[in-house]
Symmetry: D2
Subunit: 345 residues, 4 copies
């Protein structure tokens, strides 16, 4: 039995675990003041070409989202998100729990554009009876695997700046977006086009950990207080610093994402070859083929995955996710089994 349910079914890349052991008894300052965290932040600033960026290591995606948003909004301000956005769909009201409305936008592809945001701004004008939209939340890759092109992100960035909106990018799967075959964004572009974003570790080879980057350090003012207040400051911050250093000092982060993408695309191609269509065609590590119920049941004998959406009486789309840890041979077997389905007709 092999699980394609998510990209956090395994532990961490062995380099990380090995480094934890190698450095284990070296005494370090607590609360993120350790040498490894400092080193990792310096390294990321270089990679982002943002010497002044203010970087903080957090433990989880929901934690990062809620703390970033709570730290940047005044109490009457709201954040705009696609309805599929993780903050709206999967975080148990974490943002509202900090006091802020999420204004949602229905989308086909999980992405936002200026025209959609403009509509929200028009709708939210009856001051003071409505909240004040102040931030735009996007994900790259999105919750349904799609990615932003450079021109799309640039337009969004320009629009947000012109309308006093902060642009925040959730990069839980940023590696997968940047390593997608049709991607034209560099990680330094992400830093240029957003006000704040995070680089996801948990879904790309870390035990846990997300690196929140404030491209403009003024926005990070007093963020350390807020980190501590929300329970997100680990005593042994070294555990986070070590992980991000290992992921970035030799571009392991990108290699791992690339591995996951390639295997997912290999599977997608196999489905396509067999004539199946997709709910949405994602170039990253999550794919959404549409299959007849009968085939889904057959695949479930040896593989685990989510049924994502009912399509019609006989078909569902399913979600297949690969990760940094997915073995090539398992993928090959899976493809073999997919092709068998077809021949069994």
């Amino acid at each position: 039995m092999f699980s394609f349910k998510n990209d956090y079914s395994e532990g961490a890349h062995i380099n990380i675990l090995q480094k934890l052991i190698d450095t284990n008894l070296i005494q370090q300052h607590g609360y993120g003041e350790d040498d490894y965290s400092i080193q990792a932040k310096d390294l990321l600033c270089q990679k982002l070409n943002k010497p002044d960026a203010s970087i903080f290591f957090l433990s989880a995606g929901t934690q990062s989202n809620l703390i970033v948003i709570a730290s940047l909004l005044r109490i009457h301000e709201a954040v705009i998100s696609a309805k599929t956005g993780h903050i709206y769909a999967n975080e148990t009201g974490a943002i509202e729990a900090t006091g802020h409305r999420i204004i949602t936008i229905e989308t086909d592809n999980g992405k936002l554009n200026p025209a959609q945001i403009e509509k929200v701004l028009v709708e939210y004008t009856l001051r003071p009876h409505v909240v004040k939209p102040r931030m735009v939340y996007i994900s790259n890759s999105t919750e349904i695997g799609t990615i932003y092109s450079k021109s799309e992100l640039e337009e969004l960035s320009t629009y947000c700046k012109a309308n006093s909106l902060l642009l925040y990018l959730d990069g839980a799967r940023l590696g997968h977006a940047l390593m997608a075959c049709n991607n034209d964004l560099k990680i330094s572009d992400i830093a240029n086009f957003t006000d704040v974003f995070y680089i996801g570790g948990t879904k790309n080879g870390a035990l846990f950990g997300e690196a929140v980057v404030f491209n403009n350090p003024i926005l990070a003012e007093d963020f350390d207080f807020i980190l501590k207040q929300k329970g997100a400051l680990l005593a042994k911050g070294r555990t986070l610093g070590i992980q991000f250093y290992e992921l970035f000092h030799n571009d392991l982060y990108f290699e791992l994402a690339s591995h996951a993408n390639q295997l997912a695309q290999k599977i997608a191609n196999a489905f396509e070859d067999c004539g199946y269509s997709f709910l949405t065609r994602s170039p990253t590590n999550q794919i959404f083929p549409i299959l007849p119920h009968k085939f889904i049941s057959q695949l479930r004998i040896n593989y685990d995955f989510y049924n994502w959406k009912s399509i019609d009486d006989n078909h569902d789309s399913v979600r297949i996710i690969t990760s940094w840890a997915t073995p090539l041979n398992v993928v090959d077997e899976f493809i073999f089994d997919i092709k068998q389905l077809d021949s069994n007709l």
Copy 2:
């Protein structure tokens, strides 16, 4: 240079790291539904002799405190704490940030007793103009190293029950309390005398991790939602389950705490032998000797530690903390250096 500043300067006990490696590629369910977490919870229920206890693994002490308290209080209810309590002194207003007042009590020893709480209840009666005291927060061992005796905890428990107050025990250093030479509490007593408590991993051999135990499972109703909402639910919950299993399946947790206590007491005895007194006499892994400024400066050449409190123009008390990782030979050298101070007079 060796640091006695805190008990989280090193990584984790090697058994934990080894187990992370051994289990690394075994696929597991996410969000705490993994086999290791389930196993670890079962194990803790046995150790606590509480088959029905509801247990959750969190990442940090402040996180545990704020989520437990926020989940149990209605919006007009308050928590009572010693002024030295971690929630009041060291958590950046984390509790107030969830909407609740901390009513503080001045104490000599960091501990609370029914008489002190009674005074608060008397003071907070002018309904509805005052908050409603609903929870008592204590730490064991306390922030200044002292511990509760069985009779003290039992009295507190009885008083709280009689007054509709929930009793919550912060066990960031619970191991050290239970392994103190004069302790008469068992870990199952903690479960019997409190409504909810947590067993601290971070300060006793884990990379990170605290086990929150609701002794009465009704109090844990919907706690999983709240964990997620506050950003505390790790995707790879296995990381926490593995650690607690390793710490408890062979009583490593108690051994490590015992090691830390013994070394601290050895140092305390050395100070005592040299005629120094203490701010408070702690039987656990943090000690507070009072030293002349001149000696403090001398010790600082090779050792790091906090100046805790100014005593008079010539003396400060300092805080020396040992941990599960403190080497015996370093302690012996430290004691040698302490004795040299004396002979240098």
Copy 3:
């Protein structure tokens, strides 16, 4: 120039002002413990046929909504509302500011039914990654003037009970709903079919003031603390008690609403007679005729009202509201002017 913009353009019914003067120098206890408030609560309990109801007087609708909802939901729980619901559309995120998501439902008529709510419950099942729906918020009359029939409210009530959902009714314009010509609900039915509701004073003859009624007193436990905490407890609670006593001791409340409804319907009939259609046909004191832009401009010379919604390139619907204070002769003139429009074609 006469304004049909809203039903709070004038002060209060003269009986109220006169009673304020008559009782002005009689000393009373503060904070709602005055004789008038007690009397008014007793009176309302009788009218509602709910001797055990727990009643509180608040100052405003948003205030009532946010405090009721915040007092009844645990931190991970959400409230379901029509997208037109006042709490979603017009309260500046007041509910989210207390930490709770509003789950919205698109409706044609501003009302909710069990089938719509069922869909939400089905959507919100991925525990613990989603909030827990716990309350249904409805308005009667709704924000677009429609009303619930007895069978509709009863079905909703039954569904909510069966699904552990609290049913909360915003009665900012409850009088207008109950006095609508096709209404078959009594005020005691409102008390029977909901868990909590409020009777709006501000929009029906009071200077300000809403009476929050907990039909089940257990739900009101400690509500007094929360009132005070949220800044809603007036020192001179007498001001509220006097108003509600005056509004209800001789059914003035119902007379005033009836007056407003009749004038609105008179205007609606005039529009209908002239061949105009309506965005929605409301039997209460707000009506939404669809008019050509040219006529709207002409009417604006002597009357003020809101353009509500653009219908097509040449037509908008407008909102005309009458109140307890609208004079019959102004309405007659307005109707005259409406008919003139027609004849000017």
Copy 4:
């Protein structure tokens, strides 16, 4: 039976009620955009000699405090208050409920000075483990009747500016402070020395109502949103505008406060003449004589008042409050009765 329990036992000054009647049917815009509110704000700006001040009318003191504080603090910031401060002692945790700690200072006289605040700043330096003090809250007159001198307020103001602390003055009884015999502050000084303050109406002749004044309009940015969000924006804002216009256009506000002060001082002098001492000597409308239990019981036959504090086994201090509505003849009778006590010995 006459009550000296508080200064909100009666309704409102008759001028206010009369003006409510006179303007009752004149249609006005809602939500504070009415002519009366605009007029009243202009008038206050003149009186304060602050043409740019941003003024808002709220309904109650707790409401004003919580909204002002919540609007000005970031989530990790705290407010400093005397332990007797209304926000700490009497508001059911309203400030903490918005997420902020109140750091309290023990005082003899209910007032704060720079030396006391300096101590707090020194104590709160262990960034990021502690909240960030950002505001100082004072009351004038204080909750125990004392007042600030001009030099005291100026020093505090200078200190706060130098230390990036906002200075907020709760003027629930500002009139009484400014009309005290030994007062040397003008209302325009209050505006000069503080960042924000409120002028209390409820305790000085209004039905309800407090005028929040931001001396620096930048601090008021978006305050209208927050007012609405917290349920404090009355639909019929006219009710507040009318009251403040009536109170200030002919200095009625100051006359009423002066009346209350004079009667209280007359009573205080009578107690003094009879040889009684005071808990604190207040020059305003609340006095705290220390009386034997026996005399307290005798006075209670005809008068109501609070026992404030137990002094010794035989004595309590009581609180006697007079108001704008206290009749002179009642005070004369009370003094007669006080003197009788003495002669009965």
